[in-house]
Amino acid sequence: MALNRFGLGARPGDVSAIGSNPHGWVLDQIARLQADPVPGVGDTPGRLHLMDAFSKAKQEADREDAARAAVLDGTAKPGAPAAPPAAAKPRPPILDQPPGKVLENDLARRIDQAVATDWPVSERLAAFWANHFSVTNLRGEIAVTALAYENEAIRPNVFGTFHDMLCATAVHPAMTFYLDAASSVGPDSPWGLKHKRAVNENFAREVMELHTLGVNGGYTQADVQQLALALTGLGLDKAAGESAFYYDRHEPGDRVLLGRKLPADGDQMREAFAILANHPATIRHICRKLAVHFCGDTPPPALLKRLADAWRQGGGALPAVYRALANAPELWVARPLKYRSPQDFVLASGRAFGLHGKGRALLEEMRQLGEMPYGAPAPTGWPDQDSVWLDPGGAVGRVASARRMAALAGPDVDAAGVLPQVVYATANSVTFDVVLAEPNPRNAAALVLVCPEFQRR
């Protein structure tokens, strides 16, 4: 049960490896310094330079294509530079690395890591936070840096403090690109006056509504504007491929955020995040999200109170909150508490049948089932409620998905042997009967993945 509720789904053999101490296993899983980085991603500046090189090569190739086309259809201007014939010049290899493909390769590696890892709780938490501080693949710069963002801003802080994670995500180029922070300029700053630019409140609103206080966190439209002004100056140094702070774009003057003064001569961004990170509304909002993630749509108030207490006692250190979750009797009940989201369902399927190195195909399943990582339609990230994912289209879609994933497992899969290793408890015997009675091994494996016990954790 612990393997499914806290982890990413049991692998055959996991249950016997944990033995009689699942609670100790969970505590061991959260006694870490950081979540493992996703391999093969590289750093943000490197990725942004790659993106730059791709854009230049693409422009060049497009220009040459157009010139060749113009010659062919006779519309070339006299004296226009002739493009080399298509065959004369090898296609630059970087053109085979468009941003969307870079992201898919990165995600495939993240999935491979999640399928194989011995640290599934850590991977689950990393994905939880990456989705909390969600960025969506809306443009090339975000696609190529999304997993670098996860490696640099999320994963090092999964076992750190919420405050550090908030600051790291807020100033990362991926977030800056996503929520338009770089284009928000103090209207009365030297740069703003000269270029007649103004603020854009998108980032400030989402920081308060989504990342920290929550939608009912007691802030006003005036607070949104004050925070937006306090954050002006954050920008991108394109040459360095990194974020930077431009003092000449920062709005001069004092700000007042949630009744607290941010003096003009201070670091208003730092002070604003300090106020937000451990605000009572933030603690309430984040503890609730964590509780929903582990114990379902309506977490008991007593549990929420214990999580908030653990947050305060630990000064915002996240492991204290995780320990409070691991120690919660509400989470050590036999009945399942949560319907698996599509990503959860696919990863658990990969672990059940040892689908190693199939990250690319598993990513496609997540897309088919409507939960593409870094593809959330809004900055809320993907929702985490049963009431969202348990629906008719999804239930039917999972059967098709299970059939495709069962095919990945190969023809010799022992479905009846895997079943008791990956679903908790003796299950209702109907599931066992149905799986045993299925003569086609691939269909039997698909039935393991769609059985009722496998849909919940």
């Binding site: 008719p392 098709a400 059939r403 495709r404 269909n443």
Partner: protein
Amino acid sequence: MISRRHVLAGLVAAGVPKLGFASMAARPGKLFVLIIMRGAMDGLAAVAPLGDPDYAALRTSLVLGTPAAPGGALKLDERFWLHPALAPVYPLYGRGEMLVVHAVASPYRERSHFDAQNVLESGMAKPGWGGDGWLNRMLSAQHATRVEGIAFTPTLPLVLKGAAPVSNWQPEGGPADIEDAVAHMYRADPVLAATYQAGLTARGVVDVAGRGMPQRRIFPSLAAVAGKTLAAEDGPNMAVLEIGGWDTHVGQGTVKGRLAGALGQLADGVDALHKALGNRWRDTVVVAITEFGRTARPNGTGGTDHGTATAAFLFGGAVAGGRVLADWPGLSAPALYQNRDLAPTTDVRCVLKGVLGEHLGVGQAVLEAKIFPGSASARPVAGLVRA
């Protein structure tokens, strides 16, 4: 009353093959499509009040091109002009099959997308007041015993959630030779069983209706499949579609740009729906609504931030259209809501109640007690539908 899903579940349990929609109760003959434009559409850009004296000074960089120029706005009346990206639906306006309601908003007055969509779909006055949606409550009030509402969306939207049997559908392929085994396993889990059966039902009817059509997850393609499904002899009566791309904080653009792209998708989708519905278009009302509008002035980045009132569209052969309905508040600084947004003068529930009442025959008392509770002051707009 035995619900449709119980009947189906019983049939599957007894080993009888799945049923489609045949042998159902007579259909009332009216079709309804709801398009949710998620992300907050800029109503002042989609339906631009070029005739308002304060428009040009207020909108500055977002002013639409002069009407006479190619790619310019399309005239609706003396005050309102349609964004050129909506050109594919402009002929509908001329035929009286398109109606615009302007300065419209839900009762929600904050600026969170997520709460605003919750209000728009729950039909309640405040976010989080209801776990079901107004369209489902309407089906319940009509005692729907079969799947009458299908959302062509990856997950079931709140507006269609609730006690009445509904379903959602998305393109996927592959044979399903283990369906009976799955249904058998799910018998012990009533929630899963009912959900799965609703999914099978939708797939059955959509697959038949949409046979041979391209199945892609883009709005015009989903709209075409929805149209075919509604037009099918034994199809459902209601469809829900959603379309994104409206949250134009940056680079909103005018004739070209992010907003033009989203509007073009919307127009292509309505056009596809129109074609797919065939002669059932005359029985159809399509309502396209969004959670709120955007700031009346451009922000610092060539876009607009979250605002309040916006525009809503009605399309369909049953619409008494060819006009813009607006209690126009004006665009002078004091007329703006909080000196920032287009002020709301029409509650979107007035529009929805008008359509549900006149087009689908829902009684006034039911509308107020069950479908839009607490909306007594939001009187239904009369005459939206052809007599």
